[in-house]
């Protein structure tokens, strides 16, 4: 086929991808509103079903975006921050939908749709969508597995954080005596707290694999597996924070409020690793090999 025709086809696919991502953003917005309404009117079926449907639509649209992007690039779509944010939003939404389906939980949905929608909005308004060929160092079989598994862990932690926030809100409502409509008891509130532990347990090996595969990849590409680069250091900080959480859950005195606090801290570390490191590196003038990510 004529190269000019193929190039024109790529340009229209690129424009379509942007449009679909905007529609996905609106779907995240609808999902967020419906999840919030469900929070205030838990017996209303309409909000409950509309929230899930909107989130499924958003994740479905984003799947289409990822497929288009992969076709256009001819490689996994997580090289730039624009692509990483979209991938992050998609994996968080999918992870939450799986957990909602398996565990029949709804409350964390408001938080997950907010985070996913926020990430897509930031990608659309704040990042350059330009497609660039892969740098030589990124042309490795580690690239897909390192990023995909690390982001899968991030997605699990987003859901875990959403469940933790839901737990803390319910605990607050329960203490205020607002329990009638929600059927809340101390026991079923505590189930949320235990679920967070289960989710972190599930995501922790993935985060570990993400870090270790990154080290192995760096050893292949740069000849050194660990350089205390800010991104590397913060990924280890995040790992330490979640390890601290898992150990705290085993200690009777740390199991309650301290573990909730550590969970929130660990999530903040995860967000810093993903988004804050570039900002920190620029602010403090620390050189980093990962600033393209």
């Amino acid at each position: 086929m004529d190269p000019q025709v193929l190039i024109a086809r790529d340009a229209s696919l690129f424009a379509a991808e942007r449009t679909v991502l905007w529609v996905a953003l609106y779907a995240y917005g609808v999902a967020f509103v419906c999840y919030v309404m469900h929070f205030f009117a838990p017996r209303n079926r309409l909000f409950r079903q509309a929230a899930t449907a909107a989130l499924v639509a958003a994740a479905g649209l984003q799947t289409a975006v990822i497929v288009i992007r992969t076709v256009l690039k001819g490689a996994s779509p997580f090289q730039s921050l624009y692509e990483s944010l979209a991938w992050f939003a998609w994996s968080a939404a999918v992870a939450y939908l799986v957990i909602e389906w398996r565990r029949h939980v709804k409350l964390p949905g408001f938080f997950v749709s907010l985070i996913a929608g926020g990430a897509v909005l930031y990608a659309l308004l704040g990042q350059n969508p330009e497609i660039k060929p892969l740098f030589p160092a990124l042309q490795s079989s580690w690239f897909f597995w390192h990023v995909a598994i690390a982001f899968a862990s991030y997605a699990i932690f987003v859901v875990a954080f959403g469940v933790e926030i839901s737990y803390l809100l319910q605990l607050l409502f329960w203490k205020l005596g607002v329990t009638k409509d929600y059927g809340l008891t101390r026991d079923n509130i505590s189930r949320f707290h235990r679920s967070v532990h289960q989710l972190v347990l599930f995501g922790f090996p993935m985060l570990t694999f993400g870090i270790m595969s990154g080290a192995a990849w760096a050893n292949e590409a740069w000849g050194v597996y660990w350089q205390w680069d800010p991104k590397e250091t913060w990924s280890l900080i995040t790992w330490f924070a979640f390890a601290l959480y898992l150990h705290a859950r085993v200690m009777p005195r740390w199991r309650g409020a301290p573990s909730s606090l550590i969970m929130i801290l660990a999530f903040a570390c995860m967000v810093t690793t993903f988004l804050g490191v570039s900002w920190l590196a620029k602010l403090f003038g620390v050189p980093s090999l990962h600033l393209y990510g």
Partner: protein
């Protein structure tokens, strides 16, 4: 042993027992994790391990002194951080030993059921006692009965959780040992190869941490003939042209390598595909590029200088300073197009001469070209820094009289190409051409005996963690007793592993224990 001797023995071992007890505590793990967590945050906000001059040039001496005194500028290689790592290692080892030696006691039930145990109905059936029936029920469901003494039955199904936990704790300890081995015995360097100019690289070094700390003495006599010889047969670069920009695609070195035993072999290495030979690993890191810049006046060559990528140069016939970028040479890939050779070229910026400097306009050019050339041609690349320094000195002297004018802006003047002559504004009749593009291959190398330990620990850690987290395992403790309304028991059911169905399995067990038939 007399009472006095026992007391004396006890007081002698007391500090060791206290240390052992503290090292086996989870509380210590938590505090170590917290302290390392905080230390790493501090370490991530200060640039680590640079020369003091670098810090002073960006912060000033006073700020550097005030920060450096806290030891945070090389935190990850400090004694403080190393000590934390060693204590964490000891903590892991002691916890692992406690798990190993305490494994038989940990899995058996106590005399009384714990608070979380649930009451279950028990039936014997076929004339069996409830405990024999319970053992049969458990064994038929794949449980391994660990103990069945009196009225207490203990059983397990699936992987042994403490054993798996032991595996990944030992793996972490091995990883820390690997880090220490790397810190003590690893060394690295780089080598630039040009076609058919062999280079030798020593496979040993006196630049290791162990030698710096005085733990090992260098044996320079025995090390004299321990080297590998690398010969670059060909260096290949590939570029990708996408959306009107050039992107590096890959670069390869075709090498002939003679190892330290005198065996010679051919290798092709590229980014992400290193070469391992005689304990060294070579990585394709970058390229070194040189070219000639030729100044033409009509068809006459008036000047020729050597240039290198990213090294500024000056010309006698055209004033100002030139700033080349990466030279593109090799094979060009373009989406939906066939591959083709790249026309050698480099993007070029030009900083015109400042007002009053020789060569500021075309009138000066002739004078410069024909009379005032004093700088040796071969020193243009390297000499540019000296030229800048000299300019600064001159400016410094002028500072006393009046502030120097700001330097002219750098202008993007196009590509210095092997095919298309480049014109410079204000110098009509003169064009620039690139000739003799030449590339060398820059390899880094590293010797790191800690890496195999790290890979071993990564595999063991991931296997252990994955089994512990996902693979279901169940532990059952059953206390059998007689109640007022017949036999009853207390079932303590514990599940681990995310992929299990503990509720279903527990209910199935409760139902089977209550059934009169097996």
């Amino acid at each position: 042993m007399t009472e006095r001797a026992a007391r004396s023995h006890s007081s002698w071992t007391a500090p060791f027992r206290w240390i052992w007890r503290e090292l086996s505590r989870l509380r210590l793990t938590l505090w170590l994790l917290i302290v390392m967590f905080v230390a790493m945050i501090v370490g991530s906000i200060f640039p680590q391990g640079y020369d003091p001059e670098m810090y002073i040039s960006s912060w000033g001496e006073a700020k550097y002194e005030s920060i450096a005194r806290w030891g945070v500028l090389n935190l990850f290689h400090s004694k403080f951080f190393l000590t934390l790592g060693i204590v964490l290692l000891l903590n892991l080892v002691v916890c692992s030993l406690v798990r190993w030696f305490g494994r038989s006691g940990a899995r058996l039930a106590g005399e009384r059921p714990p608070a979380y145990a649930r009451e279950v109905k028990l039936e014997g059936g076929h004339g069996m006692s409830p405990s024999v029936k319970a053992v049969s029920v458990l064994e038929s469901r794949g449980y391994k009965v660990l103990s069945s003494t009196g009225n207490v039955v203990t059983a397990r199904r699936g992987p042994w959780p403490e054993g798996v936990s032991l595996l990944y704790h030992i793996a972490m300890a091995v990883a820390i040992i690997g880090f220490i081995v790397s810190a003590l015995f690893a060394f690295e360097g780089d080598v630039t190869l040009y076609p058919d100019e062999p280079q030798q690289v020593a496979t040993v070094s006196d630049e290791t941490g162990a030698i710096r700390l005085g733990l090992v003495k260098p044996d320079t006599t025995a090390w004299a003939d321990r080297y590998v010889t690398l010969n670059l047969n060909e260096f290949i670069t590939e570029w990708e042209y996408y959306e009107e920009k050039y992107y590096p695609r890959d670069w390869f070195s075709d090498l002939t390598v003679e190892d330290d035993n005198g065996r010679s072999r051919d290798f092709m290495i590229e980014v992400n595909r290193p070469l391992r030979v005689s304990g060294l690993t070579f990585y394709q890191m970058a390229y070194d590029q040189t070219f000639d810049v030729v100044v033409m006046q009509d068809t006459l060559e008036v000047e020729r200088v050597s240039g290198s990528a990213y090294v500024p140069f000056t010309l006698e016939s055209i004033g100002g300073m030139f700033f080349p970028g990466t030279m593109r040479v090799g094979t060009l890939y373009q989406k939906y197009h066939d591959t083709e050779p790249v026309v050698p070229h480099t993007p070029l910026k030009w900083q015109p001469p400042a007002e009053g400097e020789p060569g500021e306009d075309a009138t000066d050019v002739g004078e410069m070209a024909h009379g005032e050339a004093e700088e040796p041609e071969g020193e243009h690349g390297e000499g540019s820094e000296h030229a800048e320094e000299a300019a600064h000195d001159e400016e410094g002297e002028e500072l006393e009289e009046e502030p120097p004018p700001p330097p002219p802006e750098k202008l993007e003047i196009g590509d210095l190409s092997a095919e298309v002559p480049l014109e410079v504004e204000g110098y009509e009749g003169y064009t620039l051409i690139l000739e003799n593009p030449y590339e060398g291959s820059v390899l880094t190398y590293r010797h790191d005996p800690g890496v195999p330990l790290l890979y071993l620990s990564i595999i063991a850690f991931m296997v252990g963690l994955a089994i512990r987290t996902y693979w279901p395992s169940y532990r059952v403790n059953l206390w059998i007793e007689d109640g007022a309304d017949g036999r009853k028991g207390w079932l303590a059911f514990r599940a681990a592993g995310m992929l299990g169905e503990p509720e279903l399995i527990e209910e199935d067990l409760v139902k089977a224990l209550a059934e009169p038939e097996l």
